[in-house]
Subunit: 233 residues, 2 copies
DNA sequence: AAATCCCTTCGATGCAGAACGAACTGTAAT
DNA sequence: ATTACAGTTCGTTCTGCATCGAAGGGATTT
C-alpha cells in the first residue's frame, strides 16, 4: 500500500551527497566505470575503513551498486538516472576552481569526454546541434523525438520499431557548455559504436576521450562536422 | 602531473539537501511561489528559530533567494536550474516515484489566488492595471495613492476620510507575474467583499480561489475585465 | 603452510549541526 | 501608545557521524 501523498524524501539522497569524501567518489564514478573500494578510498583521500562506511551509505541510498569479484568489490553508479541527477547537480554546484576559467582554458578539460555511458562536451553538443538541424531529432516539450535517417545507421544506431514512445533519446545538460546533448539508449549506442570502430579511445582513469584520425574523418563525412575547430589540441 | 582538484562541490549542495526539514521546505517551494519564513517553518514542522537557520543555509547554498517586504520575508527558489535539479532528484528519491512533483508550468498555478488577506495572481494584476488606467490608483514613489471613484463602492471598498495619510493601498509584488498588485486595507476589503458576495470561493488546502459566474460578470461590469482570457478553466 | 592483499567490523574520539527556550528588533494593526 | 506579530540572535543540549587504529575474515599467491 502506498502512503497518502507524502513529500519526496530528498533528504535521504541529500544525506548521501552531503559529505565531500562521498561526492569525490561519485565524481570518480561518473564515467560509468566500476572502481574498487581502494581506488575510491584513494580518490577521496581517506582510509579503506572510512571508504567502506561511505560506500555502504551510498549503496543504501541506491546511488551505487556493488559487485563482489574475488577479493575485490567493484562499485558503479546504480543507473542512468543517478548520473543525470549528478549532471544536473553540477549545473548549480559551485566548483573548486572557477567555472568560466575552466571553459576558457584550452585543453584543461577534455573537449571530448563521456558522461556515464554517452558522449558529452563540446563535441557532443555540436553533434546534437547537427541532429536537430538535420531534422534527425526534434525537441518536444523537454524531450527528444527521434526521426529516421541514414545518418543513424552510419553512426551505429539501431532505431527501435516504435519511435517516440519510450525515451530513446534524452536531452542531457552539459555542465560546462550549458547546452543540451543526447543521452539515453541513442547516446549510448553512438558512444559504444565510436569506441568499437576506434573513432575514439578512453583516456587513463578519467572520462576524457581522444578523438582519432578515423573518428575525425567519419564525423566529417557523416555529419559534416569540422572537428578541428572543436578540438584544438 | 595532476592538476589541482577541480571537481564540482556536490557536497555543498548535498549538505543543504541533507536535512529533512530543509527538503520539506524545498518541496513547498517547488511550485515556484514565494513563502514566508513562518509558512515554511510550519511546513517543515519546526519552530521559527530553527527555520531561520535552515533558510540561511539554503541561501548560502544558492538554492533559494529571500526578499524582505514589510515585516515578512519571502523565500523562493533561486532559479529554474534549482527546480530542474530537484525534479531530477525526485526521480531518484524514495517514495516519489508515483507522485510527480508539481512544478510551475504555464497555467499550472491557480490563476486566481489569495496572498494572505488580498487577491494575487494574474487576476489581481489585471485589476490593478485597470485601477491605474482609470486613475483610481496612482503610483507615487513606490506607494499607491488612492483616488475616489464609484468603482470602489461597487467593489465593496470604504475609503477612509483622510486619504494618503497611512498606506491604505500598498503595492505588492506578485512572484509569478513579477508585476504589482494591491495589498493593504484596500486589497483586504476587495477580497473579503468578493468572498461575501460569492464572487469567488476558497479552495481546499491552499491559497487557490475559484472565480464564480457572478464574480466574472461583476468584474466585467465594474472594471470591464474579460476574465475568460485570464482563467482558462 | 605461510604470506599477502582487499575488505570489513569494532571501539574511541572529536566535531558539526539540529532543535528549542528566552530574549530582542523591527514592522504593522488598533 | 499599546499591542500583536514576523523574524532574528544567543546559549544550551543532544544526537549524528566522519575519521582512524586495531583486529578479524576471506581470497589469492608463493
Amino acid at each position: 500500500m502506498m502512503t497518502a501523498a507524502k513529500t519526496p524524501r530528498f533528504d535521504i539522497v541529500g544525506q548521501a551527497l552531503s559529505d565531500a569524501s562521498r561526492t569525490r567518489m561519485l565524481c570518480e564514478l561518473m564515467d560509468g566505470r566500476a572502481y574498487t573500494n581502494k581506488e575510491l578510498a584513494s580518490a577521496a583521500g581517506v582510509t579503506a575503513q572510512t571508504a567502506t562506511a561511505h560506500l555502504r551509505l551510498l549503496q543504501n541510498a541506491d546511488l551505487i551498486v556493488a559487485e563482489k569479484r574475488g577479493r575485490c568489490v567493484f562499485n558503479r553508479l546504480a543507473n542512468e538516472e543517478v548520473a543525470r541527477m549528478l549532471e544536473q547537480l553540477a549545473v548549480i554546484a559551485p566548483s573548486s576552481s572557477l567555472h568560466h576559467v575552466q571553459r576558457r582554458k584550452a585543453g584543461e578539460i577534455a573537449q571530448v569526454r563521456s558522461c556515464y555511458d554517452h558522449l558529452a562536451g563540446p563535441l557532443a553538443v555540436a553533434m546534437t546541434e547537427q541532429f536537430l538541424a538535420r531534422g534527425l531529432l526534434r525537441e518536444e516539450n523537454g524531450a527528444f523525438a527521434v526521426r529516421p535517417g541514414e545518418e543513424w545507421q552510419k553512426l551505429g544506431v539501431t532505431l527501435p520499431q516504435k519511435l517516440g514512445r519510450q525515451p530513446f533519446a534524452r536531452p542531457c545538460m552539459d555542465w560546462t557548455e550549458r547546452k543540451l546533448h543526447v543521452s539515453g539508449p541513442l547516446g549510448k549506442q553512438v558512444l559504444s559504436h565510436a569506441l568499437e570502430r576506434g573513432w575514439m579511445q578512453r583516456n587513463t582513469h578519467k572520462r576524457g576521450l581522444t578523438l582519432t584520425g578515423p573518428g575525425r574523418r567519419a564525423l566529417q563525412e557523416i555529419l559534416d562536422l569540422n572537428c578541428g575547430e572543436l578540438i584544438n589540441a
